[in-house]
Symmetry: C2
Subunit: 280 residues, 2 copies
């Protein structure tokens, strides 16, 4: 099934919530060991707690890479575990390169049968830094989310530079739409090419939705970074589809006591309700 169709079906069945797995040793629940084994127990516990509420798990490569190759082993084990529990698995790696190196990144994460369903990609290198990813998306029913407007304070330094009567990220948005519009799902008019659009810039999100009508949005910045349900609603297309909203810290670190799984599940449920209420 094309990625866009799978994503839409999952958001309808469960919710547009994406839970970000950012395991930091010093923040793990008190009962877990502060090592790769503890990280795996943590990611599995969070996955079990949210699997019937969230449509996606966004697994953040940096927190596994920092544990060396042992961490990368846990990364792949986490992806497989999440996939087996019917979560759509997004590897948040913000990878980018050209030529044979880009092919290698694409093959590393989006190969046929990979437990990773989608990868985040940084677009600074232009379309030949994105094409090898899109090729795998089409061939292997995978997806990518291209960074367009990020949620951080200094995102404007490059992304908001004025280019004629628009800004850099608006220009990029039109490139992303042109890359994606050629590869739509069978049951939706959404593409396997998605965009990352931060929750912390709601006015931009509204405009970007008009520039990218076929592009699923991955919206970070909810919760701990300040984004609210009201801020993200313009990212959706209709019936709560076309966008997924990520929260990491506000869910996975909601408790570090023995009740951590239960409290994480409840935090995800509360977030799903907040967003559903806004979408009406």
């Amino acid at each position: 099934m094309p990625f866009a169709d799978a994503l839409t079906a999952a958001t309808k069945k469960k919710s547009p919530i994406c839970v970000g797995l950012d395991p930091q040793l010093e923040k793990l629940p008190a009962e877990l060991s502060k090592d790769p084994d503890g990280v795996l127990a943590f990611t599995k516990g969070i996955i079990d707690a949210v699997k019937d509420i969230a449509c996606c798990a966004k697994i953040n490569l940096a927190f596994f890479e920092v544990l060396g190759w042992q961490g990368m082993k846990v990364f792949w084990e986490t992806c497989t575990y999440a996939k087996e529990r019917n979560l759509i698995v997004i590897a948040d790696g913000k990878r980018n390169d050209i030529g044979s190196t880009c092919e290698a990144y694409a093959e590393a994460y989006l190969y046929e049968g990979s437990p990773v369903d989608a990868l985040t990609v940084t677009p600074y290198l232009g379309s030949d830094g994105v094409a090898p990813f899109i090729e795998r998306c089409v061939k292997n029913d995978k997806g990518i989310f291209v960074l367009v407007k990020t949620s951080n304070k200094s995102s404007g330094e490059l992304q908001d530079l004025p280019v004629g009567d628009e800004v850099v990220h608006e220009h990029l948005a039109q490139l992303v739409e042109s890359w994606g519009a050629q590869h739509l799902g069978k049951e939706t008019s959404l593409s396997c090419v998605g965009a990352v659009v931060g929750a912390t810039y709601p006015e931009e999100m509204k405009y970007l939705r008009t520039l990218m009508p076929h592009i699923p949005f991955l919206i970070p910045g909810y919760g701990a970074q300040g984004g609210t349900a009201q801020d993200v609603k313009y990212g959706f297309i209709r019936h709560g589809t076309g966008a997924i909203v990520n929260a990491s810290r506000s869910i996975i670190y909601a408790s570090s006591a023995a009740d951590w799984k239960e409290v994480a599940g409840k935090a995800a449920e509360r977030m799903a309700q907040e967003i559903a209420a806004t979408l009406g």
Copy 2:
């Protein structure tokens, strides 16, 4: 020793040649196994062959990630091997993120005592996607190379967008200079913050050198991608310092027969001579 001083000393002692280790299974010498063990034998062989000619080894993460966690184990073993043989080790990962995720990437590669001396970084997120790396550079005598103008054909799609009377990558170059000028070496006026500037755009390189007087350049695109010794000379500051020139395929795959190490060493020597002749 600050990164910029170590880099300058190594380029003076050996040459400004950086050898890119991009191990692709299908291109390994015939005598090696097409698996992570074969990759490690290959990277060690190339390192032995070039260690007295090249100042740096650029180790390209994608080609290790595509082999799963077993590949990441070989990545770290390769870095350690190169470091022990007195090469400056550049991890080419083009990493980028914000906040605690960016901290995790910085800590993953640029921790105190890491065999990695420098990391390539993609700047689309702005200065808060770069600051955590610079912090480790200063504290742990490490370096970064920020992508400014890349060597690929479509690099202009974002990098050359007009912003007032300049273009995006020129604007970025001034940001990079401002980030770097605060953190110079003790024996050089070069920074721990470097820039990636492709060999395939020599006119831009000339201008970028004036915009970034304190920034060491990492110049990809030599050899297989079409850059020549004539093209790269404007990246240097004086006496063959201030820039390193990378070649990957034209050195490491110069032969796949039993003489692969010897031929790789000769290819690196020839490249060092070509560049020395142009610098005069």
